[in-house]
């Protein structure tokens, strides 16, 4: 079973220097993520959730401990290797979409493929296909400012899938969307993860997101508080909603 773990986090700690006082944000986190798994990371702000998320994504380095992606220790990689990892292995999806504003939807999707050395015609062809897959077949020549939030997030999903990554990291992907659009985006992410066997890791507050997750990792005070599987989740979901959304009918 161990060989099927795409991500292994081993004893990761992270300390920031806040003035002269070092602040321990992560106090030793161990986590294995299986290939094709849909994992959500939950936790209040300040819990170290974002830090853990950034470390898994190769955007930040741990103070101690190791993170393996495909059995490669990413804390040991140099700048070139990290760029390669971000380009080929990981797709990022952000709360604020983060499309490049001066480029069209198609150009945004083809950029990672161009970086990967793919021929321009081939990249355009694949970009068109990806945009059609996420339901934006017609609007590929629009700039991000001419697209709605949901459409921008669809472009971002197509871009994240451009180089057939093993992992997609989604940071609050529904945070800037209304409930219905958020639901569509979640369904799309789930569909992509199943069809393409992509591992999805998302940091989220959205309970719709939890119900499609295979596992939910709760972070509290820099440690893993608990890990819940989907079957356990259905039982406790009522209590979560009671605690956080009492107004729900």
């Amino acid at each position: 079973m161990d060989t099927h773990d795409i991500i292994r986090v081993v004893g990761v700690t992270k300390a920031f220097a806040l003035g002269k006082m070092p602040v321990q944000v992560l106090k030793g986190v161990d986590l294995n993520v299986a290939t094709g798994e849909y994992l959500s990371i939950m936790g209040p702000s300040g819990s170290g959730k974002s830090t853990l998320f950034n470390i898994i994504g190769g955007l930040d380095k741990p103070t101690s401990g190791r993170v393996f992606i495909d059995e490669v220790d990413i804390s040991q990689l140099d700048a070139y290797e990290l760029a390669w990892l971000r380009n080929r292995k990981i797709g990022y999806i952000f709360q604020t979409f983060n499309l490049i504003p001066v480029m069209t939807a198609l150009e945004n999707v083809t950029l990672p493929m161009i970086f990967a050395g793919m021929h321009s015609d081939r990249a355009v062809e694949k970009g068109r296909k990806l945009l059609a897959d996420v339901g934006l077949g017609e609007r590929f020549l629009h700039k991000p400012s001419e697209l709605s939030g949901g459409q921008q997030q669809r472009v971002a999903i197509a871009r994240a899938l451009a180089n057939d990554p093993a992992i997609i990291l989604a940071d609050e992907p529904t945070g800037n969307l209304d409930s219905a659009t958020g639901g569509e985006i979640i369904a799309l992410l789930q569909k992509m993860s199943r069809e393409r066997k992509v591992t999805i890791i998302s940091a989220t507050h959205d309970f719709k997101m939890l119900s499609v997750s295979d596992r939910v990792v709760w972070i509290l005070d820099g440690r893993i508080d608990k890990i819940e599987h989907r079957d356990e989740l259905n039982i406790s979901l009522g209590t979560i909603q009671e605690r956080h959304e009492p107004a729900l009918p």
């Binding site: 290797e81 760029a83 390669w84 380009n87 952000f94």
Partner: protein, 228 residues
């Protein structure tokens, strides 16, 4: 991934992330076009400084041509116009005041470019961070900024040096009315103007170097922060 394969791919990794020159040029052009007014302001500071440089340089060339054509007869008029006659080498040189003005205008222009480019880098923090998340290397970001500066320099300094050349010619026509200007050869004038053009391109690239290095060194994690 097997161990030998792993090694091989690692050693080639720096060549595996690419941005072809054609694509880089396309991106630099479209970026300049889409930020037209900002580009225009940067180009304008360059244009004015290079126009002044080109004016001074070609004016001196005209003075030298007049001395070549008319000899001693032209000297009183030229010294009155502020030129210094170097008797030892029998050449006309620009006066110290002109030299100072030239150096100062170039300095101001360089500072102006650095300032404008720093602003544009700050504006584009997020965009640069996104590109890095997509796998862009430092040198790709650096190249994009340098290309933009080179294009701006080519256009801005080009227009400036032509403007300076025409202004110098017009001024000379007025100033040296009493002398016959028909024999003046254009070659030294054009040489001076293109020298100004070259200096302009150099200054533009020099001015963008620090902001571009700053941009290239940005960490991709900045896109996760809200404030940019």
């Amino acid at each position: 991934m097997s161990e030998p394969e792993n090694r091989r791919s690692r050693s080639n990794i720096s060549r595996q992330i690419v941005l072809p020159w054609k694509k880089s040029l396309e991106m630099a052009f479209s970026s300049l076009r889409l930020r037209f007014f900002r580009s225009l302001i940067t180009a304008f500071s360059l244009l004015l400084a290079i126009a002044f440089l080109s004016f001074t340089l070609t004016n001196t060339a005209i003075a030298r041509e007049l001395y070549r054509l008319h000899g001693q007869i032209a000297l009183p008029l030229l010294t009155q116009a502020g030129y210094v006659f170097d008797a030892a080498q029998a050449v006309i040189n620009a006066g110290p005041k002109e030299l100072w003005l030239m150096i100062l205008s170039l300095l101001v222009c360089t500072v102006g470019i650095v300032n404008a480019q720093l602003m544009s880098v700050t504006e584009r923090f997020r965009e640069i961070g996104i590109m890095k998340c997509l796998g862009a290397l430092d040198r790709i970001i650096l190249r994009l900024f340098l290309l933009e500066a080179a294009i701006l320099g080519l256009l801005g300094a080009g227009a400036g040096s032509i403007l300076g050349l025409f202004a110098a010619w017009g001024a000379a026509m007025l100033q040296y009315q009493s002398l016959n200007c028909t024999g003046i050869s254009l070659a030294p004038l054009l040489a001076q103007a293109s020298q100004a053009w070259g200096i302009g391109i150099g200054l533009s690239i020099l001015g963008v170097l620090y902001p571009a290095i700053l941009a290239a060194k940005l960490q991709p994690v900045i896109v996760m922060k809200e404030e940019y």
